[in-house]
């Protein structure tokens, strides 16, 4: 008996020693950096359960949306080994071999003549599990909007950030020359599709600005040779001239409460200053009275202060002003030229145009730290504006003599182009999220 115990003890000791052997406290490795690359994703063409061909390529729109964000790299369809439309048909090993990290499948089913149902599922290829799955009703006409909505849900689930694929952009295009020159104010889906002209004129149209509810646009038009600020309701097309004072009427921007506009007026004496116009009463309040040019106002997130561009220091710089005492403080410190401030949705950053080694480029200024980061790489990039999720900026870049719509991620890592109609594209602005 004693012998048995002795041997048991011996074995225990030995095995304990054996198990101790590889356990030099596990290695601890710190990961302090990542990359800003696109996640490989496979968006399989959605199956269609009705007769004939599918009425719309939902997966195509979803893949294009995700690709446009720069955060996803959709796999080419011709590289797919199979095209499952239900979870049971998915072979994760294949997708793993194809290096897809995320798999999106789905199907479109007709309900009646014009009504359809879209069903989609998103899988984590490494973990072989469903991340997301939804079914939604739609119509033939709403199919594109539904596809954007699907892309938004996928984007939000995978990045933790709300997608902007269902939002819109407004921009100005200039076509023709001389007498045939035509300015158009265009509203399009965020991917550039469904572009619609809401206003046009042979004279310049400038500075569109979305109302906080996304239903109206304020803009400047030189119809008849003089500038005026208009507010137009998008759905009805009804528009109202809200400011047509002598001299310059320009750069309108909506207060966060949607009840007033900040704008730039010259009021006859030719000195451009910042004013606030209350829309219902028409009451106008002068905010700056500086002999230098003060223009391009932008509201602070709290609505009690303004940012604007002023050359009072000799060259254009960004200033911040408290409405209460109307005292302006220069906040841009880096660079010899900083203009056209636009606030990020979280209110912590300003996008602006900065002179970077002889090139006008898009930059982001951190309001807390005052640091400036250049994001774009063009020669004459202008009019940056944040997407409503704060992740992307849209701006106009020059390509030859033409302006085109370009995007860049807020971290400067991802660049994109938005397809748009012919012509010189200027002053893009991104709509807020549609109200729920």
């Amino acid at each position: 008996m004693t012998k048995v115990f002795t041997s048991i003890l011996f074995f225990m000791l030995m095995s304990a020693m054996a198990s101790f052997q590889p356990a030099h406290a596990e290695l601890r490795i710190e990961i302090t950096k990542g990359i800003s690359a696109a996640v490989p994703i496979a968006v399989v063409p959605f199956g269609y359960t009705g007769p004939g061909a599918a009425p719309f390529d939902v997966a195509g729109v979803v893949a294009a949306d995700l690709a446009s964000s720069g955060r996803f790299d959709p796999m080419d369809r011709k590289d797919m080994l199979e095209m499952p439309s239900s979870g049971a048909e998915v072979d994760f090993q294949d997708w793993r071999l194809l290096k897809a990290q995320v798999l999106v499948i789905g199907k479109v089913s007709p309900i009646n003549a014009d009504e359809y149902s879209i069903q989609f599922q998103v899988f984590d290829v490494f973990k072989r599990e469903q991340i997301l799955g939804y079914r939604m009703p739609t119509t033939r006409a709403a199919m594109r909007a539904s596809a954007h909505y699907v892309a938004d849900m996928i984007f939000e689930k995978l990045t933790g950030v709300k997608g902007v694929f269902s939002t819109q952009v407004a921009y100005v295009t200039v076509t023709g020359k001389g007498k045939d020159r035509n300015f158009e104010l265009v509203v399009a889906d965020a991917d550039g599709a469904n572009a619609k002209s809401i206003s046009n004129s042979p004279d310049p149209i400038m500075s569109p600005s979305w109302s906080p509810d996304g239903r109206k646009l304020a803009y400047v038009s030189f119809e008849g040779g003089t500038s005026a600020v208009y507010v137009q309701i998008l759905r009805s097309g009804f528009r109202q001239k809200v400011s047509s004072r002598r001299g310059v009427n320009g750069a309108p921007v909506w207060h966060p409460d949607g009840r007033s506009l900040a704008l730039t007026l010259s009021q006859g004496d030719g000195n451009l200053d910042i004013y606030v116009l209350e829309l219902t009463s028409g009451r106008l309040e002068r905010i700056t009275s500086h002999p230098a040019i003060d223009t391009e106002p932008e509201w602070r997130k709290d609505g009690r202060g303004l940012y604007f561009t002023s050359d009072r220091s000799g060259r254009a710089q960004i200033y911040e002003l408290e409405l209460q005492d109307k005292k302006a403080v220069r906040i841009s410190r880096e660079g010899s030229y900083n203009a056209r401030p636009r606030l990020s949705p979280d209110g912590k950053q300003l996008s602006l145009v900065t002179l970077d080694r002889g090139n006008y480029r898009i930059g982001i200024m951190d309001l807390e730290r005052g640091t400036l980061r250049v994001l774009s790489e063009g020669k004459l990039d202008e009019s940056p504006a944040f997407a409503p999720n704060g992740q992307t900026l849209i701006y106009a870049a020059r390509e030859g003599s033409q302006g085109v719509l370009a995007t860049v991620s807020a971290d400067g890592q991802i660049r994109g182009r938005i397809a748009s109609a012919d012509g010189d594209v200027r002053e893009p602005v991104w709509s807020p999220f549609p109200p729920n």
Binding site: P22, H24, E26, I31, G34, I35, A38, G160, V161
Partner: protein
């Protein structure tokens, strides 16, 4: 029932015979009794026709009458006597007969009893004989059984002894083997310990020479190259991930131990590790670790 009849055939047969005899005897007696007894004799008085002196005659008649009467009485008496005698005889006969019958019956009964007794005796004898036979047989059997048991016991004992011997031998062999094994294991353990110590030594040497730091850096860099940071992965984030790899660097398990990031961040760190598989191998094999603790802590 049939069983019983078969087993006691002989006594039954005897009994049957006895009963048959009795029954036959009884039937014969009854037949005899049923024969009619002899008819009694008929006495008819005869009248004489001689004339006599009246007185005389009368006297005579008287006398004669008396005589006659006497005679008649006598006759009647005689007749009566005769009748009585006949009766008596009859009774006697009956008595005799009865007696004879009784005797016969008794004889018969006696015979029967004797027969029965004899039969019983025979049966008893037979039973005794049978019992004796059975006893003998049983004795024989018991004897055989006893012998068999004895034999069995003997064999069992033999077997047990053999087995005990085998067990003893086996135990001895096992003991020997165990001792050998123990010795071997001890030797192995010692060798392993020496090896471990040597490995530890090598590892320490490798660590000292900076190979461990290099290994850690290689793994870290490969994961950083594969970590596609979602926008929500901001400074302040800290995700501790436990990774299990096998020699060759293939990642077999990824477990997020704790993480203050959102779903997208968690998915991104998991994907980074899977995507970085196989992980770099150390320059010195002694530095390989199955388990790694990764801390995702973006700085900007």
């Amino acid at each position: 029932m049939l069983e019983f009849a078969r087993e006691h055939a002989r006594p039954l047969a005897y009994s049957f015979l006895v009963h048959l005899v009795i029954v036959v005897g009884l039937v014969l007696n009854v037949t005899r009794f049923s024969q009619p007894a002899a008819a009694p004799m008929k006495v008819v008085p005869v009248v004489q026709s001689s004339v006599v002196d009246m007185s005389e005659v009368n006297r005579q008649v008287k006398e004669r009458a008396i005589e006659d009467q006497r005679e008649r009485d006598r006759k009647v008496q005689a007749e009566k006597e005769k009748q009585r005698q006949v009766e008596q005889e009859k009774v006697r006969q009956v008595e005799i007969k009865k007696k004879r019958e009784q005797e016969q019956r008794e004889a018969k009964l006696k015979a029967d009893a004797e027969k029965k007794k004899e039969a019983e005796l025979q049966v008893k004898q037979q039973a005794q004989e049978k019992a004796a036979r059975e006893k003998a047989e049983a004795d024989k059997k018991a004897e055989a059984e006893r012998k068999r048991k004895e034999e069995q016991a003997r064999k069992a004992k033999l077997e047990a002894e053999k087995k005990a011997e085998e067990v003893r031998k086996k135990k001895e062999a096992e003991e020997l083997r165990r001792k050998q094994l123990e010795a071997k294991q001890k030797a192995e353990a010692e060798a392993q310990m020496r090896e471990t110590m040597a490995a530890e030594e090598a590892r320490n040497a490798a660590e000292r020479s900076g190979l461990l730091a290099q290994y850690i850096a290689l793994i870290g860099q490969k994961i950083e190259r594969n970590w596609i940071r979602p926008p929500s992965a901001r400074p302040g984030l800290e995700c501790v991930v436990q990774v299990t790899q096998i020699p060759g660097g293939q990642v077999v398990a990824v477990k997020v131990v704790r993480c203050n990031g959102d779903d997208a961040v968690i998915r991104s760190v998991e994907a980074a590790v899977y995507q970085a598989s196989p992980l770099p191998e150390p320059a010195d094999a002694s530095l390989f670790e199955r388990r790694l603790q990764l801390v995702f802590k973006p700085e900007d």
